[in-house]
C-alpha cells in the first residue's frame, strides 16, 4: 500500500513539475491575448530561444570560468536568457505585429505562425540541427520527507516558478505599467483617452511574457538535459492548451490551467498509457471548449479566434 502511495506521490510530483513549466509559458499567451486579443503562436519559439540562451551561457562559463559556484552560474543563466528573450519578444512585436495593429486579427495570427517558422529555422541554422546537450549544473540531490522524495532541480523549478508567478501578480496589481495593462485589456480606447500609451503597454506585455517564457526555457533545458530547435512547438501548443483551459486572458487561469494540465498528463501517462499523453492534453482542450468555452477562470468574451 505504501508503495502505491509512494508511486502516486511520485507521479503527482512529476506532473506538477511539468505543469509549472506549462504555467510559465501559458502566462505569456494569456497576457498577450488579454491585451491585444492575439494568439501569439511564436511564443513557443521565444521559450525555445530562452532554453538555447541558457545552453549558451552554461557553455560559455564552462570554457571561461571553470568551477564557478553553481548559484553564480544559475543567476547568469536566468539573467541572460530573460534579457535575450525579452528583447526578442519586444522586437518580434515591433517588427511583425505592430505594423498590423489596424488589420484583422487573423492577419496577425497568421503572421505569428510565420514568425514561429522563421525563429525555428533561424535557430536551426545558428546552432545546427542536432540536439544540444545541457551540462548538468544543478547537483543531483534528493530530499526525502518520509516516503516523499523530491530532487533539487524539481524543488528549484517549484520555487522559481512560484516566485515568478507571485512577482507577476504583484506587478500587474500594483505597478503603474501593470495597472495600465489591466486598463488596456479592459478597454483600449478608454485607456488611450485617459492618457495610457497603448503602444508601450503592449511592448511591456511582450517583454514580461517573453521573460517568463525564458525562465521556463532555462528550467526546461536544465531539467531535461537537452534542447532542440523543435521544442518550442509542442511545449507552446501545450501551454496554449493550458491558457485556454484556464481561461485565456486570465492570469490566475493560465497558472491553474498549466498546473492542472501537467498533473493530468503526468497521471494519465503514468496510470493509463504514455502513448496517449498528447491525446489527454488535447481531449481536455476539446472538452473545455465544448462545455466551458471561456475556460475555468475566464470571463465570457464575445469573440475568439
Amino acid at each position: 500500500m505504501t508503495a502505491e502511495i509512494e508511486l502516486f506521490l511520485q507521479q503527482l510530483l512529476n506532473g506538477l513539475t511539468l505543469g509549472m513549466v506549462y504555467a510559465l509559458i501559458a502566462l505569456g499567451y494569456t497576457m498577450v491575448y488579454g491585451v491585444i486579443q492575439l494568439i501569439n503562436f511564436a511564443h513557443g519559439e521565444v521559450f525555445m530561444v530562452g532554453a538555447y540562451l541558457a545552453v549558451s551561457v552554461i557553455a560559455l562559463f564552462s570554457s571561461f570560468w571553470i568551477g564557478a559556484p553553481f548559484w553564480v552560474l544559475l543567476a547568469a543563466v536566468f539573467i541572460c536568457s530573460i534579457l535575450g528573450s525579452s528583447i526578442l519578444g519586444a522586437s518580434v512585436e515591433k517588427i511583425a505585429y505592430k505594423p498590423l495593429r489596424g488589420s484583422s486579427k487573423l492577419t496577425a495570427l497568421i503572421t505569428s505562425i510565420g514568425v514561429s517558422f522563421f525563429l525555428q529555422n533561424a535557430v536551426m541554422l545558428l546552432y545546427g540541427s542536432k540536439e544540444q546537450s545541457v551540462p548538468e549544473i544543478v547537483p543531483n540531490i534528493h530530499f526525502s520527507v518520509g516516503i516523499f522524495s523530491i530532487s533539487l532541480i524539481q524543488a528549484m523549478i517549484f520555487a522559481t516558478s512560484i516566485g515568478f508567478m507571485f512577482f507577476l501578480t504583484w506587478f500587474v496589481k500594483h505597478t503603474r505599467i501593470g495597472k495600465a495593462m489591466r486598463a488596456t485589456a479592459e478597454n483600449p480606447e478608454a485607456a488611450q483617452l485617459v492618457g495610457i500609451s497603448v503602444d508601450s503597454v503592449i511592448r511591456w506585455t511582450f517583454v514580461l511574457g517573453s521573460g517568463l517564457a525564458a525562465v521556463a526555457g532555462a528550467l526546461f533545458g536544465m531539467y531535461y538535459g537537452s534542447v532542440n530547435f523543435h521544442d518550442g512547438y509542442l511545449a507552446g501548443l501545450k501551454a496554449f492548451t493550458a491558457a485556454v483551459f484556464g481561461g485565456i486572458g486570465s492570469i490566475p487561469g493560465a497558472m491553474l490551467g498549466g498546473i492542472l494540465l501537467g498533473v493530468f498528463e503526468g497521471l494519465g501517462s503514468g496510470y493509463v498509457s504514455s502513448s496517449w499523453k498528447d491525446v489527454f492534453a488535447f481531449v481536455l482542450l476539446g472538452g473545455v471548449l465544448i462545455f466551458r468555452p471561456s475556460g475555468l477562470l475566464g470571463e465570457n468574451l464575445p469573440e475568439k479566434v
Binding site: Q10, E136, Y224
Partner: protein, 378 residues
Amino acid sequence: MMKRIAGIVLSIFLLLPVHVAAQDDTVSIGLVAPLTGDQAYIGIGVLQGAQMAVEDANARGPVFGDTRIKFVPLDDQHNPTQAVMAANKLVSDPNVVGVVGHFNSSCSKAASSIYHEARVAQISPASTNPEISRQGFDTFFRVCATDDVQAPTAANFVRSKLGVKKVVILDDQTTYGKGLANEFEKRFKSLGGEVLRHDGINQGEKDFTPLLTKIKSVRPELVFYGGVYPELALLLRQANKVGFKTTWIGGDGIFDVTLIKLATPALTEGIYATMLGVDPHSLPSAADFVARYEARYGQIGSFSAYAYDAANVLIEAVRRAGSEDREAVLKEVRLTKDFQGILGPVNFDERGDAIGKSVGIFKVSGGKFEFIEEVKPA
C-alpha cells in the same frame, strides 16, 4: 519602338532556358531525406554521403557518352505528406532516373507507390521496416538490413548471451520504432522470455518521468527501445532522476555518438545497440571515404556511408544502362550483382532487400560504442 525592344528582350529571355537545356547533357538522380525538421541532424549526413558519391562519379568523367550526373536533393522533413510531395516533384522531371531515399521508413513507404507508378528506381539507404518491400513494388531497393533481421538478432543476444528473462519494451510509435519493437517482442517471447510491458512514447516529447516511474515499479532486467537516440538520451537522464537502473538495448536508430554526448558517458555506460553491419571506421574498404568525409564535414553520420553506397549502386546502374530511360536503369539496378560498396558487397533479393547484410552488436564503454560481435544472417 520601346515595345519592339521589350519584345526582343523578352523573346531572348524565353529562348535562354531552352538553349541551356539543350547544351546541358545530364541525367538526374534525386535524393530525399529529412533536411530540415526534427531529424535534420541525420538527414544532412545522408545528403552529404550521397553528394560525395555523385561528385566522385562526375570527377571520374561522364557516366556515359558525354552525360554527367545531376544531383537533385529534396527535403521530406520526416513527414510522409512532404515525402509524397517530394516524390511527385522528382517523378514529374523526365530527367530523373532514380532516387536515393527516403531516410525514414514511414516516408519511404509513403513515397514508394509514386516511384513505382513512374517506374523510377528507389534505393533507400536506411529504411529498415520490413513492410516496405512487401508491397510488391519492383522499384524499391535498400542497401541496409531489415528490422526482421536486426531485432531478432537483438532478442537472441539478450536472451542467450545476457541471459535476461524479463524485459520492458518501449517504442516511439513510428513505422521504424514500432516495427523494430514488435519484431523484438515476437522473437523474445518465442525464446521463452517475458515481456512485462510494451509502452509507446511520442516522438518529440520531453517528459518521460511518469512512464519511467511506472516501469521502475515492475522491475525489468532490461529495456528494449525501438526508436531514435534523442528520446533515448532523455529517457536515460530521467531514469537517473527517478532512480531507475537497468540495462538498455536499442537498434540502429540509437547508434550515434551524440547519444553519449547528450546523456553523458556515465549514464550511457553499458548500453547495447544493434547496428546494420559494422562501424565504417573499422572497415578498410570505407577508410578512404570516411577520411575524406570527416575532413570535409566533420564527424561522419550514422548513415552517410549507406547513402554513399546506395548512390553508387544507382550511378553504376545508370552507367551500365547507358541511357536516360527509367525502365533501363531500373532493370540494371535489379541486375546489380556483387557491387563492391564501401560497406561490403551489395546484392538484392527479389523483393529489393539487401542480401547478406550482417548485424553488428555494440556496447557503450568509456564514452564510445565498442564493437562486440558480428552476426551473419542465417
